[in-house]
Amino acid sequence: MSVITFVENWEGKFKKLTFELVSYTAKVAEMLNTTSIALSIGSVESSELDKLGNYGVKKVIHIDNDNLKILDNQAYTSVIADVATREGATVVILSNNNTGKALAPRLSARLKAGIGSGVSKLPVSIDPFIVYKKVYSGNAFANVSIKSDIRILTLSQNSFDVIETPNEASVETIEVQVENDLVKTNVTDIQKQAGKILLTDAEIVVSGGRGMKSGDNWGPLVEMADLLGAATACSRPVSDEGWRPHEEHTGQTGKIISPNLYFALGISGATQHIAGVSASKYIVAVNTDKDAPVFEAAQYGIVGDAMKVLPKLVEALREIKSK
């Protein structure tokens, strides 16, 4: 028996989300009284693979194969399912990011395994196997019993603490056969968003809504984000208007994020917007309307004009940063 997690890499590197996944996997294995494994696919150096052991997994399996250079959902599913089966995995854990959402359902069908998707906590119980998950876009939660012998979980980003555990994992590099004609995806172009903090990775997010009045008013908001090491975001009408790029749209139909701190500036707080940010640990709102629904979701608020408040926030931040 084992609990296994698939860890993605970004140009050969892991990031915080990887260590959250690995920490979570080690804890689930502990609950089941079994061993934990991390599976890395791609060209990752051994110094990077060694890091995974620091978060509690006992074994790292590494596969580097030319036919796995690009994400082909069928080829990846086949390789992960084979390793999971060989290792007798009863729980398979992936991130709830784009890659995890692409692979987890295929693995579920392949392994006849029920899914608990977008979990943010350890299982409520292991026999029966029950997970706690968000439903109705954060307007409620559910306890879901997974009845199959194998279960697949996808873990929400930034929702489980990284736990460092002094531990050395064995690293095993294995060869796999991936037939050329198994790979059906042909990637013809890649457009990378260079040098920006990814919205889904960010611990602090500064977001603007229609109350910002125009795309030309974003200067101080971006400056504030820079000072905080934060990512920028926006409400849907803002990206629809073309004031900000589509990647920044948060909410039910945009990005769903769970930063530690979310600033909502000139955002009314419609249910569909809050659906994307309600998992934030803290929400701070600035709005001219004291009755705006956003204040019901916020822990700190200023009733005022964002255009006047923002420069003062920037000034105060500069001050503390200079100390």
Binding site: E8, W10, L71, Q74, N98, T99, K101, A102, A104, P105, R106, S108, A109, I115, G118, I130, Y132, K134, V135, Y136, N139, A140, F141, A142, N143, V144, S145, I146, K147, K184, T185, N186, V187, T188, D189, I190, Q191, Q193, L198, I204, H246, Q252, T253, G254, T271, Y282, E296, A298, Q299, Y300, G301, I302, V303, G304, D305, K312, L313, A316, L317, I320
Partner: protein
């Protein structure tokens, strides 16, 4: 070429979610049921592709797993412009159950392009599209924000962490679509609503399988602490609180 769009029937996104039976069942009183927002975008995109004669699309079908009560939602999809519909007559127990039922039908009635939304706004699982592709043994592309046809071949943009990739996969395939796939959902016209009344809904009885998961109870979100207000004349105090009280910056 034929396109299938899988649709889910969900409460309107502004619904105040409540439960009955000791938090075991959704309180359906007064709920307006709608086509899941992403599925509506997927359907719109399918119809846009069909509008272009060069693409050679004969028909756009919608498929739904649900009981007769969800027919108004199916009729709405037909009013928006789908040519016909398939309804698998079973309660949508979980993603696995739904995908399995769809696969059973599609094995005998293949489509070239199958579109699913990235998630259903009720259970937020993001599972049906990928599972369906795996059951059918065909490619899937997830997080799709653009789907075009060029000389009969698909050109797809998918989002990856930190960027986008342009990809192509052989047909048949499942595209799991998100924001960007089209700008606005299409709204049924008066003529569309009239025509929808006579479009066929093919009702199929489900295959016998069990769901993999079961919701054993719901919980409401914990109420958040009341908002602490800071004077608009003194925003520095907010920064001070974030630094020293919440210890966030």
């Amino acid at each position: 070429m034929k396109i299938l769009v899988c649709i889910s029937n969900v409460p309107d996104t502004t619904t105040k979610i409540k439960f009955v039976d000791d938090l075991k069942k959704l309180d359906e009183t007064g709920i307006q049921w709608i086509i899941n927002p992403w599925d509506e975008l997927a359907l719109t995109r399918a119809l846009e592709l069909k509008d272009e004669p060069a693409n050679g699309i004969e028909k756009v079908t919608v498929a739904h797993v649900g009981l007769v009560g969800s027919e108004p939602t199916i009729r709405k999809a037909l009013a928006i412009g789908a040519d016909d519909a398939i309804r698998i007559n079973a309660d949508a127990a979980d993603g696995y159950f739904v995908a399995f039922q769809l696969a059973e039908v599609l094995n005998n009635d293949p489509y070239d392009i199958i579109l699913c939304g990235i998630e259903s706004s009720d259970f937020n699982c993001s599972t049906v599209g990928g599972m369906l592709a795996e059951f059918l043994g065909i490619p899937s592309v997830s997080a799709v924000s653009a789907l075009n046809l060029e000389n009969g071949e698909d050109v797809i943009i998918r989002e990856i962490d930190g960027g986008n990739e342009t990809v192509t996969v052989p047909m048949p395939f499942v595209a799991i679509v998100q924001k960007g796939i089209t700008k606005e959902p299409r709204i049924p016209s008066m003529r569309g609503i009239m025509m929808a009344r006579s479009k066929p809904i093919n009702v199929i009885e489900p295959a016998a399988i069990e769901a993999m998961t079961e919701i054993i109870g719901y919980e409401m979100p914990k109420p958040r602490a009341a908002c602490k207000f800071v004077d608009a004349e003194n925003p520095a105090e907010l920064i001070e609180l974030l630094q020293n009280e919440a210890k966030l910056i």
